[in-house]
């Protein structure tokens, strides 16, 4: 972490960058927040630890409009989002100085099943330990780092940065799951089971739009669900159809653009596994149109703005059963 701060200080002091986009210490080890640092002094609040799950790419949309370069710290998975935003002209590569940071898997405080947590020891970077010691109001507890990780880290795309100016820090492979296992499990259900499953998950939705607003692919200046263009403006659900409509359309709009960064599921206050929508499209795209990873390269033409003359017919959905 000190290396990150030192490098950021050096670049700020040399004037090469005008500001630093990173993470700021919170009240506790887990409530770190994305933050801009304008001076070397402010960097004393900089933090990089296991709770820095937030993908900073989307903040670069606004940062790209500012004078001077912004130093942005991106984890390997965040770089896909950055590339996708570059492809869509939403961020300007020239205005970013990208420091690729190592990643040993990111934690979700909710996954640490303990009451009254005061501190989580062992979540630091680069010295993340395999066992976290959780200090709580009601006594100490040990939790394995892996068990406390975000879902996305178990199916990590790999620890290689797709875009960077320099790299700092080591990464550890955290992938120990099949990315499409959950989707395949649902696909194997009967229509009734599928419907019941999604109905129960989506009925929790409070339409807070956290999933949309955190999503680097949902970068619309004005979402169709906030505009009158389709008579589709919706603020809150009145019945379950609207949640379904919202989540289907949202997933469709990001299909082929979603990098599977997992931010939607990370931020959902109701713990809805929103990534299951996006990953369903990714799985379909991979199997029907060839493996595709949004953001792997800049200016690649996404699968929904492309075609082959011998693409599968929509009836494949019925045939697949």
């Amino acid at each position: 972490m000190q290396r990150l701060i030192d490098r950021a200080k050096a670049l700020l002091e040399s004037g090469e960058v005008a500001r630093v986009l990173g993470w700021r210490k919170g009240e506790n080890v887990w409530d770190v927040e994305p933050a801009f640092f304008a001076s070397p002094e402010e960097l004393s609040d900089f933090v990089y630890n296991g709770f820095c799950g937030a993908n900073l790419s989307k903040y670069m949309i606004e940062a790209s409009k500012l004078e001077g370069k912004t130093l942005v710290f991106l984890k390997p998975c965040d770089t896909y989002s950055f590339n996708q935003l570059t492809t869509e002209h939403r961020v300007d590569r020239e205005t970013a100085y990208i420091v690729g940071v190592g990643c040993k898997g990111k934690l979700k405080i909710e996954n640490i099943d303990a009451k009254g947590i005061l501190d989580v020891q062992g979540a630091g970077y680069p010295d993340a330990s395999e066992i976290l010691t959780v200090k709580t109001l009601y006594g100490d507890k040990e939790v394995s780092y892996k068990d406390a990780m975000l879902e996305r880290c178990h199916v990590c795309k790999g620890k290689e940065h797709m875009v960077y100016d320099e790299l700092i820090g080591e990464s550890v492979d955290t992938c120990d799951g099949d990315r499409f296992a959950e989707v395949a499990k649902i696909e194997a259900m009967s229509p009734e089971e599928k419907f019941a499953y999604f109905q129960s998950e989506l009925s929790k939705c409070i339409r807070c739009n956290a999933c949309r607003n955190v999503c680097p692919a949902c970068s619309c200046r004005k979402c169709v669900f906030d505009s009158n263009k389709f008579d589709s403006a919706q603020k809150a659900n009145t019945i379950s159809f609207e949640e379904k409509m919202f989540h289907i359309i949202r997933a469709f709009h990001v299909a082929g653009r979603c990098t599977d960064c997992g931010e939607c599921s990370r931020v959902c206050p109701q713990g809805i596994p929103l990534h299951l929508f996006n990953r369903k499209f990714i799985k379909d795209i991979d199997s029907l149109y060839g493996t595709w990873q949004a953001g792997a390269e800049v200016d690649a033409r996404g699968p929904l703005t492309n075609f082959r003359t011998d693409d599968a017919e929509p009836s494949i959905v019925t045939k697949r059963g």
């Binding site: 109001l137 009925s203 409070i206 949309r212 206050p269």
Partner: protein, 341 residues
């Protein structure tokens, strides 16, 4: 003081439901929220905080107001039926009970919101003391005692018994309906439990947050502070904080075209949204900083200014837990505290 065995709660709920609609914390798809009780409901009294506050019971996220239908070339307006049957909300925590008091000041003052008033009139609050407060709790800051909530009936879980204490006439009526299931109990055990709760609350990291400088005057002294510009930056402009908040009360009124007519409904709105208070000429708050500031000054300055110094934050800590960017009112209060302004 009365009590009932924890294992008999199912019977109690069934008994309550005989005469009342019953809402209580129910776990579904892994999360606990207030929901209507039925035999199959997975009642969860252990989770301290439901994701959404129980304000839904009195001020639903969406509710119909009236509908307009075309009939023989004329428009027929049918108002939505007001709540006219008793209902019980069981298991509301002390902070959330205070949250309802905050809403009362808004919706029950003139002009009275009839939809809300009808629900308040028919709703019975059974509050539930907090056995194990969480790190994010800071209700003490607002003078709330998690060990002794307000409410029509107050309950405590001590060991394997639920203690029951009716406080109001409504509460006594409800108690009478279920009296056969309750037995007399020793209040001393409750007092001991309260001591335990209060001692934990003393140890909570945010229990001694200073509110100095907040209140009506903050609207003037802190409106133009440069701190806002620093604070708001991580805000995603989602509505999570407002929708989990027990006191946020802003709503939008919308029409739904059914094809045969229009159903007018209202739904929660969030001051975090870019189209909040959007008018024909545009928006009076054009930046996220302004919207962000609005939310906190409303809780900590405007509301107290209009309500005898009462804050419209109750320290439930839901926003502390749920903000995707880990922004929250505690950080805001502390940021100004640090500056000593």
């Amino acid at each position: 003081m009365l009590k009932i065995k924890r294992s008999d709660l199912g019977t109690l709920f069934a008994k309550i439901a005989e005469n009342n609609e019953l809402y209580l914390p129910v776990k579904a798809a892994g999360k606990t929220n207030f929901a209507a009780w039925d035999q199959d409901a997975d009642v969860d009294l252990d989770t301290l905080k439901t994701v959404k506050s129980p304000k839904d019971a009195f001020f639903p996220q969406s509710e119909g107001l009236y509908s307009c239908d075309r009939e023989e070339g004329k428009i027929k307006i049918t108002a939505e039926k007001l709540q006219d049957a008793p209902f019980v909300v069981f298991g509301i925590r002390a902070c959330d009970v205070r949250g309802i008091a905050v809403l009362d000041k808004v919706f029950l003052s003139q002009p009275v919101d009839t939809y809300y008033a009808a629900r308040r009139e028919h709703g019975i609050i059974v509050s539930y003391a907090c056995g194990a407060p969480e790190t994010s709790c800071f209700c003490k800051v607002f003078g709330i005692d998690a060990a002794q909530p307000e409410g029509d009936v107050v309950t405590w879980m001590v060991g394997e018994d639920l203690y029951w204490d009716a406080k109001t006439e409504k509460g006594q009526k409800l108690t009478a309906q279920v009296a056969e299931l309750l037995t007399e109990a020793d209040a001393a055990l409750v007092a001991a439990e309260q001591e335990k709760i209060r001692s934990i609350i003393e140890k909570l990291p945010n229990s001694h947050l200073s509110l100095e400088g907040w209140g009506a005057e903050a609207a003037k002294t802190r409106f133009d502070s440069p701190i806002w510009e620093q604070l708001y930056k991580p805000c995603l402009a989602c509505g999570t904080c407002t929708f989990v908040c027990p006191t946020c009360q802003c709503y939008d009124i919308k029409d739904y075209d059914t094809g045969n007519g229009v159903k007018r409904y209202r739904c929660w709105d969030s001051c975090m949204y870019s189209d909040f208070t959007m008018m024909a000429h545009g928006n009076n708050r054009t930046s996220q900083m302004q919207r962000f500031r609005q939310r906190f000054l409303h809780k900590l300055a405007y509301y107290p200014a209009n309500n005898d110094g009462m804050f419209s934050c109750v320290g439930c800590g839901r926003c502390v837990d749920k903000c995707p960017s880990h922004l929250n009112i505690v950080k805001v209060i502390k940021a100004f505290g640090k500056e000593g302004k």
